[in-house]
C-alpha cells in the first residue's frame, strides 16, 4: 500500500488482503542521530535525520521552511475506540514528528482471560485484537514510507492474557510495549502470583522480539494527590520491574523506565522534579528513559497544560532522555481530539528544537542543593527496599499496603493499596510445572524439557509461529454487527455523496469548539455562554473550560457542541487562484517589457517589512523577475502613489495595509479604487493590496484587482501580475 500526500488514507485498502499481510520490519527503531547538522541557516547539535515529508512549525517559514527533527523519539497516544479513525490521526501526528504511536487498550480488556478478535468498538481505548493491530501496523508501514522514518507502534502487555498478547505483538510487528506485573497488581487487582509468573513469559517473548519495554511506575504519581511524595517508591517500582526483566532475559537497552516529572506550577516544579530526575538517571545508568509529561495536575486549561509540558520537556533535555512522550493538552477534559494530539507533539518538538545544544552551555551543578536532594531520594528508596525485605519480601509488602502510600517514605499515612496475595482476578490459576513439563516453542521462559539441547525448542514441531509466520492463524471477525465494515457505511456514504462534516475524534462526530468571553459574573456568564452556543446552532453544548478573568468583569469559556451541518463539496466556493507560473516563465515575460510598479504602505501605517519582502530582490521579491519597483515608503498618501504611477507609466500599484482598526484597510482599498477612477487611471493600472488581514475576496469587493494575505511570496504576486497583464494584452 502506498500513500500519496494529497489523497486520504483509504481504510478499505488497509483492510484489503489483511489476512496475508506481514509487517515490513520488526523490533524497536531509534532515530538516526545527527550531531553537527546544518539545516537552513542553523547548525544543530541534537538532531536526527530530516523527514522526507512533514509539516514544519509555523515560524519555520521565516527560516526557509526548515523542519529539524530532534534526537529523541516522540510519542503520542492515540486511541479513540475506533481504530479506523485513529489511523488517520496517526498519519497527521507522523507528519508533525511523532514516531512512537501508543494505543491504549479498551476499558476492561485486562480482565479478559484470553485474546479477543475482530474490530469491535472500544471505550476509552481500542480492543487489541490481531486484526486491529495488523491493520494499524499496515497503515503505519505505509505512513513511515510517506514521511521517511520508522514509526514505532506500541501497546500494552498487561492483564490476564499477558503471554498471549506478547506472542501476538511479536508475531505482528508491534515495536514497543508496556509490561509491568506491579501494574496489574496495584491498579487492576490481578492476582500477584499470576501476574508475575505471566510476566516472565511475556518479557522473554518481548526480549526475543526486540520489542522495547516500558514499565508502569509512573502510574504511582498519577494516582497520588501529592505526587512528589511517592518518588522514593518510584525508584523501587522501576527497580523491581527492571531486575525482573533482566532475569527474564531482557537486555538493558530494551528496558525503558517510564518517568514523569511529578509536579506542576504553581508548585516550584523544576526545583522539585530535577533532583528526582537526576537520581533516577544515576541509579539506573545503562537503561533507557521514557519521559512522560505530567497528567496528574492537568485540568481543562489547554494552555496551562502546554506550559507545564514545556517545563517537563526542559527537564528531559537537562537530564538524559531517549523517548519524549507527549500528553495532549486536552488530557484533563476529554478523550483526546485529533488536533490536540498534534498540539502535544508540537509542544515537544518546538521545545526540543528551541533547546537544541543547550547542554553545551548549561550544566547542572554537581555540588550543593541538587546533589544533597538526589542523595536523600536514593537513601529513602533504599530504606523502602530494606523494609520490603524485613517484612518478608514483596508479597508481604503488597499485602501490608506498603505501595502507593501517600507518605514520603519512611513517612507512612496508612493509605496504601492492599492486595491479598491469594486473592484478585486469576487467583489459584498458577500451577507448578511437573518434572516432565515441556513447551515445544521458542521464547519460552523457565523449565522446559525441549530447551535442554542445542536445538531450537520448536524443532520438535517443525518450527513455531515466531520462526515461521505461516503458522500464525488469523481470525477476521467474530461479531457480525460490531465491526469496522458496519462502521464504515456512514463514512463511505458521505464520501459518495460528497459531503463533509466537522469532527474531532470519530468520523462525522460533528463536534466543534467555540471560545466565548462574556462580560459578567461567573454564573451569569456561564449560563449566557451556553445560551449563545445554542444560538450558534450547537446541539447539547457543554462547557469544556472556564476561566475567570475577573469576578465581576467576565469569564472566558470554551464550549463544545455538535454542529449538524453537512456541507456539499460541490457547492463550495474554492480559492480558484491558479498555481504560480514557473519562475523562468515569469522572468522571460517580464524582463524584456521594462515594466514599472509603484508601491507603498498606505494610510498612517508604518509597517514596511511585509511589503519589502514582496518587492525586494534579496527576499525573493518581484524585482528578481525584472520589475522596476518604485517604493515610496510608509504612511504614504494614496494621491502620491497615483501621481508616481502616472509619472513612471507604471503597470501596477501595490499597497500594503497592515493596521486594520476600524477597518481602515478596507477603506484604503476602496479609496484607492475610487481615486484611480477619478484620475482616469483605473483601466491602465492593476491595483493590488496586501497585509495580514487582507484576502483576495475582500480586495476585489473593494474594487481592486487582487489581494494577498499572510505568507505571500514575491513569486505569487509576480505570477499574478504576469497573468493579468497578459490578459489585458499589454
Amino acid at each position: 500500500m502506498k500513500l500519496s500526500p494529497d489523497e486520504k488514507l483509504e481504510i478499505g485498502k488497509v483492510l484489503e488482503g489483511l489476512e496475508h499481510y506481514r509487517p515490513k520490519r520488526k523490533g524497536w527503531s531509534w532515530r538516526r542521530k545527527r550531531h553537527e547538522h546544518r539545516i537552513g541557516p542553523f547548525l544543530y547539535k541534537n538532531t536526527s535525520e530530516n523527514l522526507k515529508r512533514s509539516l514544519p512549525l509555523s515560524a519555520a517559514h521565516a527560516f526557509g521552511d526548515i523542519d529539524p527533527q530532534c534526537d529523541l523519539t516522540i510519542t503520542t497516544e492515540i486511541a479513540s475506540g475506533r481504530f479506523e479513525d485513529d489511523l488517520r490521526r496517526m498519519r497527521m501526528a507522523a507528519w508533525h514528528g511523532a514516531d512512537h504511536i501508543m494505543v491504549i487498550r479498551t476499558t476492561g480488556q485486562s480482565h479478559i482471560d484470553g485474546l479477543i478478535e475482530g474490530t469491535i468498538e472500544g471505550v476509552g481505548g481500542v480492543p487489541i485484537t490481531r486484526k486491529q493491530i495488523r491493520a494499524t501496523r499496515k497503515a503505519l508501514d505505509a505512513i513511515e514510507d510517506e514521511v521517511g522514518r520508522p514509526i514505532n507502534f506500541h501497546s500494552y502487555v498487561s492483564g490476564l492474557a499477558g503471554p498471549e498478547i506478547a506472542v501476538l505483538f511479536a508475531e505482528e510487528g508491534v515495536n514497543g510495549a508496556h509490561q509491568d506485573p506491579q501494574y496489574n497488581v496495584l491498579y487492576r487487582d490481578i492476582n500477584l502470583h499470576r501476574s508475575f509468573v505471566d510476566a516472565a513469559e511475556a518479557k522473554r517473548i518481548l526480549a526475543d522480539g526486540n520489542i522495547l519495554q516500558l514499565d508502569g511506575a509512573h502510574n504511582a504519581n498519577a494516582t497520588a494527590k501529592q505526587a512528589w511524595k511517592v518518588t522514593p517508591e518510584l525508584f523501587v517500582q522501576h527497580a523491581i520491574n527492571t531486575a525482573y526483566s533482566r532475569r527474564a532475559g531482557m537486555p538493558a537497552d530494551r528496558i525503558a523506565l517510564s518517568t514523569v516529572p511529578p509536579t506542576a506550577p504553581p508548585a516550584p516544579k523544576i526545583r522539585l522534579d530535577l533532583p528526582y530526575a537526576v537520581a533516577l538517571r544515576e541509579l539506573f545508568a545503562g537503561y533507557r528513559f521514557r519521559a512522560q509529561q505530567n497528567t496528574r495536575y492537568m485540568e481543562a486549561d489547554t494552555l496551562e497544560a502546554s506550559v507545564t509540558h514545556v517545563l517537563d520537556t526542559l527537564l528531559s533535555r537537562l537530564t538524559a532522555t531517549d523517548i519524549q512522550s507527549t500528553i495532549t493538552p486536552d488530557e484533563g477534559r476529554n478523550i483526546p481530539w485529533h488536533y490536540h494530539n498534534v498540539a502535544g507533539v508540537n509542544t515537544a518538538r518546538q521545545t526540543l528544537m528551541g533547546l537544541d545544544g543547550v547542554t553545551e552551555q548549561i550544566v547542572l551543578k554537581k555540588d550543593g542543593g541538587v546533589h544533597a536532594q538526589v542523595r536523600e531520594l536514593k537513601e529513602r528508596a533504599v530504606l523502602f527496599l530494606e523494609e520490603i525485605l524485613a517484612g518478608g519480601g514483596y508479597y508481604d509488602a503488597v499485602a501490608a499496603g506498603q505501595f502507593v502510600d501517600s507518605g514520603y517514605f519512611p513517612e507512612r499515612n496508612g493509605d496504601g493499596i492492599h492486595r491479598d496475595p491469594a486473592g484478585g482476578d486469576g487467583a489459584g490459576s498458577v500451577v507448578p510445572r511437573e518434572a516432565d513439563y515441556g513447551a515445544p516453542v521458542c521464547s519460552h521462559f523457565g523449565t522446559n524439557v525441549y530447551a535442554s539441547g542445542d536445538d531450537k525448542p520448536c524443532d520438535a514441531i517443525g518450527g513455531c509461529s515466531l520462526c515461521d509466520a505461516s503458522k500464525i492463524r488469523y481470525i477476521d471477525e467474530l461479531d457480525p454487527e460490531d465491526n469496522v465494515n458496519q462502521r464504515l457505511r456512514q463514512p463511505l456514504a458521505d464520501r459518495a455523496a460528497g459531503v463533509l462534516r466537522p469532527e474531532v475524534e470519530k468520523h462525522a462526530d460533528g463536534v466543534v469548539c467555540a471560545t466565548l468571553f462574556v462580560p459578567a459574573s461567573p454564573k451569569v456568564a456561564e449560563a449566557a455562554a451556553l445560551e449563545m452556543a445554542r444560538h450558534m446552532g450547537l446541539r447539547e453544548p457543554v462547557v469544556l473550560s472556564r476561566r475567570i478573568m475577573h469576578p465581576a468583569e467576565g469569564s472566558v469559556f470554551e464550549i463544545k457542541g455538535a454542529l449538524d451541518a453537512a456541507v456539499r463539496i460541490e457547492d463550495l466556493q474554492l480559492d480558484d487562484r491558479p498555481e504560480p507560473l514557473p519562475e523562468a516563465e515569469i522572468e522571460a515575460w517580464v524582463r524584456p517589457r521594462q515594466l514599472h510598479v509603484v508601491a507603498a504602505t498606505v494610510g498612517e501605517d508604518e509597517h514596511s517589512v511585509g511589503l519589502r519582502e514582496i518587492l525586494d530582490i534579496k527576499h525573493g521579491g518581484i524585482e528578481k523577475y525584472g520589475f522596476h519597483c518604485h517604493y515610496l515608503g510608509t504612511s504614504v498618501a494614496l494621491q502620491r502613489l497615483l501621481e508616481a504611477a502616472r509619472d513612471t507609466a507604471a503597470s501596477a500599484v501595490l499597497i500594503s495595509t497592515i493596521i486594520t482598526h476600524e477597518r481602515v484597510h478596507e477603506r484604503m482599498m476602496r479609496e484607492l479604487h475610487e481615486l484611480a477612477k477619478r484620475h482616469r487611471l483605473r483601466e491602465k493600472l492593476l491595483l493590488i493590496a496586501g497585509g495580514t488581514q487582507v484576502t483576495d475576496q475582500m480586495a476585489r469587493a473593494c474594487g481592486l484587482d487582487a489581494g494577498f494575505g499572510r505568507g505571500t511570496r514575491g513569486r505569487d504576486v509576480a505570477s499574478l501580475l504576469v497573468q493579468m497583464l497578459k490578459a489585458r494584452g499589454s
Binding site: E201, R247, L383, L385, L389, C464, S465, I475
Partner: protein, 117 residues
C-alpha cells in the same frame, strides 16, 4: 499485617547509609532489589498458567479461539503442569497425526482419555 501510620524518621533510619559512598549506595540498592526479585523469578521458572499455555499453543499454530478450548480440556484433566504443548505433541505422536490434527480432534471432543497417557 498492615502498614501503620508513621512519622518521617528518615534522619534516624538512614544512619547506616550515611557513610556509604554513592557507588556503595547504588550497589546496596541493587543487591536489595535482587534479593526481592529472586523468589519471584524462581516461582515463574517453575510454574505455569492458563495464559502461558495458551500462548504456547498459539506459537504451535492454533488460533485464540482454539487455544481457549484446548487449554480448557487440559485443565479439566488437571494436566496443566505438564504443559499443554507437550501433551498435544505427545498425542500427535501416539496417534501418528500432525499437531494440528491432534488439536482439532481434541477440540471436537476426541482423544480426551488419551491426553497425557
Amino acid at each position: 499485617m498492615r502498614c501503620a501510620p508513621r512519622k518521617d524518621d528518615f534522619a534516624t533510619r538512614r544512619k547506616h547509609l550515611q557513610k556509604m559512598s554513592d557507588q556503595e549506595l547504588h550497589a546496596h540498592f541493587w543487591k536489595l532489589v535482587e534479593d526481592i526479585v529472586a523468589p519471584l523469578i524462581e516461582e515463574a521458572r517453575t510454574h505455569t498458567t492458563p495464559s502461558i499455555e495458551r500462548s504456547v499453543l498459539m506459537r504451535m499454530g492454533f488460533s485464540s479461539v482454539e487455544t481457549k478450548v484446548l487449554v480448557q480440556r487440559v485443565l479439566e484433566r488437571g494436566l496443566l503442569g505438564r504443559g499443554a504443548g507437550r501433551l498435544l505433541l505427545g498425542l500427535a505422536r501416539t496417534k501418528g497425526v500432525s499437531v494440528r490434527e491432534a488439536g482439532t480432534a481434541l477440540i471436537e471432543g476426541k482423544y480426551g482419555e488419551e491426553l497425557g497417557a
